[in-house]
């Protein structure tokens, strides 16, 4: 059998010069069972479309798919998270420990202060509890400081008299103004 015509068509096919009809002839030719040995190797090229067109999902496809899905581990159900209102008390909770520590230290400090410095009733131990470093001298010369100190004590001593005299003077002035 002479396959020259088929070979010519193939030549044109490789050069992309075949028409639709000529390609149809090639497809029909290569769809037959017995092909010459030299041309059999091109069969898959022309029967490919036909073979693929015949592929369909099996009737048991759906069943198999559902079965496969059923074998998969079930995803964890969605956890419903509800918005929670954070109160001020809860927000400050981390500070509780610090506050407790401060309270303890303050308490111990105060207790120590009182135990070391308290003056028992009737005791002669010093009760003076002021911060010595808070006092800054106005005068560095002891003589001058003495004079100023004595002036203050003198004023302290005369305070009642001075105040009384002032109030008496004010009273007499008021009386005069009333007259």
């Amino acid at each position: 059998m002479d396959y020259k015509y088929i070979e010519q068509l193939l030549e044109r096919f490789w050069e992309c010069q075949t028409s639709v009809e000529e390609e149809q002839i090639l497809k029909v030719f290569f769809s037959q069972k017995d092909l010459p040995e030299g041309l059999a190797r091109y069969k898959s090229l022309f029967v490919y479309e036909k073979e693929q067109a015949g592929l369909h999902l099996g009737s048991d496809f759906d069943q198999r798919l559902l079965q496969a899905i059923g074998e998969q581990p079930q995803p964890a159900p969605f956890k419903v998270v509800q918005a929670e209102k954070v109160t001020l008390t809860r927000r400050l909770r981390p500070l509780y420990r610090a506050a407790a520590a401060v309270a303890i230290v303050t308490l111990l400090g105060t207790a120590a202060q009182h135990s070391f410095q308290s003056n028992p009733q009737g005791s002669d131990s010093p009760a003076w509890d002021y911060n010595q470093s808070a006092y800054k001298d106005s005068y560095q010369d002891p003589q001058r400081a003495y004079e100023e100190g004595m002036k203050a004590l003198q004023l302290f001593k005369e305070g009642p008299k001075t105040a009384a005299a002032d109030s008496a003077a004010m009273q007499s002035q008021t009386e005069k103004s009333l007259r």
Binding site: A101, Q121, P126, Q132, K157
Partner: protein
Amino acid sequence: MKQLICTLIAALLSLAAWGQKEQDFASRFIALYAPGTSLQCTTVSPLMMERLLKLPKVEGDSTTKQVLSQLKSIRLAVSPNPAEAETLYANALQLAKQNPKRYKLYAEEEGKKLYTRSRGRVIVEIVLFMKHGEQFSLINLTGNMNGTFLEQLSGI
């Protein structure tokens, strides 16, 4: 870690506050009301008081020595401005009244108030403030004083 740092800071602040100890009336008064006024304060510190006791003039006068030995500090705050006397007096009175547990009224006369602060039987602070003439004066004595101190003081 943050809590630990906070705790340490708080502890240090507490210790620092404890170290501050007490503040006398005059220093509180000056801090509160002196700004913007002509109030002038003269201070004789506890260290200077110790030096005063060694002065020959004091060593030779037993009454003065006895009085000064009971004192730890003297503060004299004076405002010569007549316009300020009334206000400063009212402020001093208010400050004393705001601390009724601390300062007890010892004596009063027209234009003069004498407050004391005691610890046990010991008078640790005497505060006298008055408006006399046209000026305001505040005398603040601290020390370890007893009941007879005021009598001794009048004997100087």
